[in-house]
Point group: C2
Chain length 158, copies 2
């Protein structure tokens, strides 16, 4: 009898690509968060890690950089059918941006009870005024994403 692995979110290739961006960001001294933006056919349109320190830009979160780069690449402000894959639950700024860009799906790794704006805090897509609510899939490669962040903050505290 052949044993087949069930399709597993633990080895999800787009999330693995986002995790590589997160690790590269960490190596640059940024908070290790990464993201990739997928076209409706699964092709990677953009990828980024945090660049807050490098750009001197508190809004240069991986997710926002990815959204912006993909829109410029496609030459339109709406990313219909696209998926944003991020290693961490997006903050309210990035969650709202994903809605402005009309992404169809948001996939994220670790949950962020303190800073997250999707499943925590303002729960933006649950707000009555929210004009576009992406499908949300959280906890993909969660342990790997959470460990990366925990190790980073532990190393900061020395």
């Amino acid at each position: 009898m052949e044993l087949r692995a069930a399709p597993s979110y633990r080895t999800d290739p787009p999330m693995q690509a986002a995790l590589r961006e997160a690790r590269a960001a960490g190596a640059r001294g940024e908070v290790p968060v990464g993201a990739v933006l997928l076209a409706p056919d699964g092709r990677v349109l953009s990828r980024a890690g945090n660049e807050v320190e490098q750009r001197r830009d508190a809004s240069a979160h991986a997710e926002l950089l990815c959204l912006r780069a993909a829109a410029v690449l496609l030459g339109r402000t709406r990313l219909d059918g696209c998926s944003l894959v991020a290693t961490l639950e997006p903050c309210p700024m990035c969650a709202a941006a994903a809605s402005h860009f009309r992404v169809a799906r948001l996939v994220f790794g670790a949950y962020d009870p303190k800073g997250g704006g999707v499943e925590h805090g303002p729960r933006l897509y649950g707000q009555p005024g929210c004009l576009h609510r992406p499908e949300v899939i959280g906890g993909v490669c969660e342990r790997e994403a959470a460990t990366l962040l925990r190790d980073f903050f532990r190393s900061l505290r020395g």
Copy 2:
């Protein structure tokens, strides 16, 4: 007896500068919202109108452009003591960004019951997890700011 006008928010010079940016944005076919970013001494560090269509960037709201430009100008991610002056109540994305950039004060013109994230919707600065809450002054030159937007949307509907 000398009659002195009370200091009036109706003729507030920074808001008038933001309104000029809003009108210029409208003339470019953008939603007419403008913003300026003031240093602690009141000097204008940056000014912008919406550039969503022009940049093909759904996040290119006047407020976010202003915040980013001022931080790059100062060479730091935190805009301590600075004020963000916007013609419209910021959306959740821009409200969260103002918090990330640590602005001391947010001044806005028209209230936005549908899309605003400060006094409406998620009321971001009232969220328990919000790390930095700017002082908020709404309704400055409110009628002028609201009329500009109403006229724009009326003209769109033909």
